[in-house]
């Protein structure tokens, strides 16, 4: 096990509401800077306007709505290089993009993804919700329903993309897709009876993120 040799820090950037394409471009830029050692680890937090994104391993059949429907309902559609299948982002959903150099943490993609799940599980616990892992189905689940989706891209051990936690997402929009190709229900903190604001969830996520990834 590679223990972090030096004290690591992470810069948190709260992007507020930002279109997916713009956030993607920003991530790409930061990944390059991180690879070249120009910056340290970054943790981007953002809420996207309605958007459906398709991962590299996605199947078009998991987008239930036609592109015309997506267009007519004001939902953007992108194909992306992250892992995983199709997902939806929209207002009320907290999206986190950690740009982390795994050489300086652990060179282990499973450890990285399990840690991301751990961040969310601990965050949910802060609001009295018990989140769980399901073997073979990356993400965080509450009972039978998925509350957080995860999909990651690695380039030279620098991560991008990340997680999407439903805080107060209008879950109706998930009808347009088969989330991650799984025909399981989705849920949100709001639906689980948690009235926490987006800002409260953001600060809990940041605290737990720093804890799990052992930042100073």
């Amino acid at each position: 096990m590679l223990a972090p040799a030096v004290s690591r820090t992470c810069e948190v950037r709260d992007l507020g509401a930002m279109r997916w394409g713009a956030a993607y471009a920003l991530q790409a830029e930061l990944v390059g800077q991180r690879q070249r050692g120009e910056i340290g680890d970054q943790f981007l937090l953002v809420e996207h306007p309605h958007v459906v994104t398709m991962g590299r391993n996605g199947h078009a059949s998991n987008v239930l709505a036609s592109p015309e429907v997506l267009a007519a309902t004001g939902i953007e559609y992108y194909e992306t290089n992250r892992g995983g299948d199709v997902t939806y982002h929209g207002p009320g959903q907290l999206v986190g993009y950690p740009i982390v150099h795994l050489n300086e943490w652990k060179r282990d993609v499973h450890a990285y993804v399990r840690a991301l799940e751990e961040v969310i599980i601990r965050t949910l616990a802060d609001f009295g919700v018990t989140g769980e892992r399901v073997a073979g189905a990356t993400g965080v689940w509450v009972g039978e329903a998925k509350v957080c989706a995860i999909g990651v891209h690695l380039s030279r051990w620098v991560s991008s993309h990340g997680f999407a936690l439903n805080v107060a997402t209008d879950l109706q929009y998930f009808q347009y897709i088969v989330p991650c190709g799984l025909t399981k229900p989705v849920t949100s903190l709001r639906q689980l009876g948690v009235a926490a604001s987006m800002d409260e969830v953001k600060s809990a996520v940041c605290r737990r993120f720093s804890e799990v990834y052992e930042y100073q």
Binding site: M1, G21, Y24, A25, A28, E29, G32, G55, R56, N57, A60, A65, S66, P67, E68, V69, L70, A71, A72, T73, G74, E76, Y77, Y78, E79, T80, N81, R82, G83, G84, K106, R107, D108, V109, H110, A111, Y112, V113, T138, G139, I150, G151, V152, H153, L154, S155, R156, Q172, Y173, Q175, Y176
Partner: protein, 460 residues
């Protein structure tokens, strides 16, 4: 030759899925340039090349699950002995486009562009000059297509050699084999590819290219002639949406056995009624009265009488829908959508007209709700509003039929052996012949026609 292995991506990870090759055999790669992508558990990882060189061989196809430390590809780093290829010259031209292929940042807009380098490289993509690398005169005048010659002529060929030749458009007949018994080896192919990629030396094309062929556009001959005249076409990648629409349309055509039947309908009664009441209607409801709600009302009634038109196919079962939810096609800029009038049979002409206006307006302002576009059991498309007399609509899957309404116009028709002027309209019914036979389709369309021709109810 350097082996590239499946890397270990974590302590507990013993295998990964190769999701995509970013390079193909014959491509030049730089050190650290992404070669392929693997996927393990929701994480996609780009695997960079350990050395600079030419990707010589790929040992797995995309989709393969590969154990760690298994050799996935081989890269010719130039250290391999007697390779006479003019390496430096060959390397230069492909650099720029390769970078753009590998760089995910080009994904930024909606396009899924990575497969198609946005900057075409004339030297890499143009067909080779006919005889640039051909020592024999046999390949002469025509730009010989790189067809694979018979095995007998060339001796045994490995699948890799065939593949490399095909992908690089190399005519194997022009390649001199240096292997056992004159067999063409991979190295021979690499030399041929390098020779082709390098700017052709002056004498070859001059000697081989016959006069007319020299005028061929972008033949890749020595210094590419400056393009003085204006471009004759423009190439633009299809948007993701356009690609998806293309898929959907083909999928519909491949799913159902489409047949269209057309009935001529006398809309005079309704035209007169509409003329009488349209001003009062507009004053009372705020929107115009069109022919469409009459067609919808008649269709909903006929659907109740012919439930198979309100069904869908599920494997070997027929699913009869109890609700009659009619989708109406609405044209948008660069696309179209089919919002749904739920329980159309429970609404009168006023209510149907209201829904048509509302759904179309919200479709155009992108404010439809998910429920507005779900659950359609039958569709109506009103191409008559664009002046079409009749067309053959595509079925909106998983429906089994769609009714197209042509424009309503006055025509001379024979009524009781006299020529009369009537408001006529063609109704085109495209139905799925897997489930519905022609006779039944005509009974259904005939019933809609009958209801429309005998319309007597007042609207207001």
């Amino acid at each position: 030759m350097i082996d590239v292995v499946m890397p270990q991506m974590g302590e507990s990870i013993v295998e990964g899925t190769l999701t995509r090759w970013l390079k193909k055999p014959g491509d030049k790669v730089e050190r650290d340039e992404p070669l392929f992508e693997i996927s393990t558990d929701k994480v996609d990882t780009e695997i960079p090349s350990p050395v600079a060189g030419t990707l010589a061989e790929t040992l797995f196809e995309a989709g393969a699950v590969i154990g760690i430390n298994t050799v996935v590809a081989r890269i010719n780093d130039g250290a391999a002995a007697a390779d006479p290829a003019p390496a430096p010259a060959a390397e230069a031209p492909t650099l720029a486009p390769d970078k753009s292929v590998a760089n995910p940042a080009v994904l930024e807009p909606t396009g899924p562009a990575p497969e198609a380098p946005p900057v075409p490289d004339p030297q890499a993509s143009a067909p080779p000059p006919p005889a640039a690398s051909a020592p024999t005169p046999s390949a002469a005048p025509a730009p010989a297509p790189a067809a694979e010659p018979a095995e007998a002529e060339l001796g045994l060929l490995s699948p890799l050699v065939r593949k490399m030749a095909r992908e690089n458009n190399i005519d194997l007949a022009t390649v001199k084999g240096t292997g056992a018994g004159g067999r063409i080896t991979k190295e021979d192919l690499e030399s041929a590819i390098s020779a082709k990629a390098a700017p052709a030396p002056a004498p070859a094309p001059a000697a081989a290219a016959p006069a007319p062929a020299a005028a061929a556009p972008s033949a890749g001959a020595p210094p590419p002639p400056a393009r003085a005249e204006a471009a004759k076409y423009r190439i633009e990648p299809m948007s993701t949406m356009r690609q998806k629409i293309a898929e959907h349309m083909l999928a519909s055509q491949e799913t159902s056995a489409n047949v269209t039947t057309v009935h001529k309908v006398d809309m005079t009664n309704i035209a007169k009624l509409r003329d009488r009441q349209k001003d009062a209607f507009k004053a009372q409801y705020g929107y115009s009265l069109t022919f469409l709600p009459f067609v919808l009302a008649a269709t909903a009634k006929a659907l109740r009488e012919f439930p198979i038109f309100n069904s869908s196919i599920d494997g070997k079962n027929i699913v009869y829908h109890n609700d009659i939810n009619i989708g109406i096609a609405v044209a948008l800029d660069g696309g179209l959508i089919v919002p749904v009038i739920q329980h159309a049979d429970e609404k009168n002409v006023v209510g149907l007209q209201r829904e048509v206006v509302d759904l179309a307006a919200r479709a155009r302002s992108k404010s439809l709700k998910p429920a507005d576009i779900q659950g359609g059991t039958f569709s109506v498309t009103n191409f008559g509003s664009f002046g079409s007399v009749f067309a053959t609509p595509m079925i909106n899957q998983p429906n089994v039929a769609i009714l197209g309404v042509g424009t309503v116009e006055k025509q001379p028709v024979v009524v009781n052996d006299a020529i009369a002027i009537r408001s006529m309209c063609y109704l085109a019914n495209t139905f799925d012949h897997r489930l519905i036979d022609g006779a039944l389709a005509d009974q259904f369309t005939g019933r809609v026609k009958q209801l429309l021709e005998n319309w007597s109810d007042s609207v207001l």
